[in-house]
Subunit: 193 residues, 2 copies
């Protein structure tokens, strides 16, 4: 299968458009491959020529969004209204990206979604945070475990954010995140009293 063949590009584009259109009406689970093909007006056999399941199609779009996360993480501050030194920029950029693609992340974190999507996002966040965390020269610290801890903690906040329909502002999310990092140490101290 040659991904540069104009027929392939055309077909994949039609599938992408069709899936996004259907995802605005209902969730991925209740969309059938037959339905996608009927609306896309493409043979069902062609679908299976490109994808194993409808989930693979969604993942193709997913990777596009991950590219944006990557870009916005390493790119200039631009539309971020906060000064870099004020609050941890790592989390700010991630929160910013998630809000930008809020419709998408509602799907990713929806109850019926697959953990595979979660992991795609989680691993991306983990790698991004690892860039900062590897700066610690601490023999006792297990870096992969710590980045797993940190990445998933931020995602926990995002889950909460999604579940209340993004009612918190970007600034508030960052303010709280900074607050959490501060009190973690205090919490531990209590158990050593």
């Amino acid at each position: 299968m040659n991904l540069n063949d104009r027929r392939v590009i055309k077909t994949k584009n039609i599938f992408h458009q069709t899936l996004l259109k259907l995802l605005k009406e209902k969730n991925l689970e209740s969309i059938s491959v037959s339905e996608i093909c009927k609306i896309a007006n493409v043979n069902r056999g062609t679908f299976y020529l490109h994808y194993d399941q409808k989930e693979n199609l969604f993942e193709e779009y997913f990777m596009e969004v991950m590219k944006d996360l990557e870009k916005s993480y390493h790119g200039p501050y631009q539309d971020l209204s906060i000064q870099p030194h004020e609050i941890d920029p790592s989390s700010l950029r991630i929160f910013h990206h998630v809000k930008k693609y809020s419709d998408f992340y509602k799907i990713v974190f929806s109850n019926k979604a697959s953990l595979s999507y979660y992991y795609l996002f989680y691993n991306k966040v983990k790698i991004l945070l690892e860039e900062v965390l590897t700066m610690y020269k601490d023999d006792k610290l297990n870096i992969p475990l710590y980045s797993a801890y940190q990445a998933n903690a931020v995602i926990g906040m995002i889950i909460q954010w999604v579940s209340n329909d993004f009612s918190y502002s970007l600034d508030y999310m960052n303010e709280q995140y900074a607050h959490f990092l501060k009190i973690d140490k205090f919490q531990l101290a209590k158990y050593h009293e």
Copy 2:
């Protein structure tokens, strides 16, 4: 549907046994309802009388495991070898429970699993941790957001633990967790230099 009817109890038991048997051979995704019924020797219509999908059957077993988490969290220290004052007991009890049901959690955190299972576990951990976290009298602190952060951070460690096939010891997991809580504050300070 009367859940106390001996026919119902018997049928549900057969389904539970059959599912667990099949889950040792392959993942939930590749198990069909027809297959469960064929092995259980129960009519397929009966299955749909009790469950919407095979996932509901799995969730029924899931709730049993959650009950154990609840119990081991609030129960006596018993088989926990570490002194309560040494390390944060909340995480220790959770790690202990996860290791006890390691086969089960391998399924829960497997790539193809549904986020709905993740959320069942996440919400349980969140509620358990909230008991401790509500002790903070801090107006600026968003408790639901903080417990989301804390609960998911611990689950992040568990994900890492599962992914390396539980190669870390219980003690090591707790030691690292305590360590993470300590350095979080330090990390934040760096951005304020």
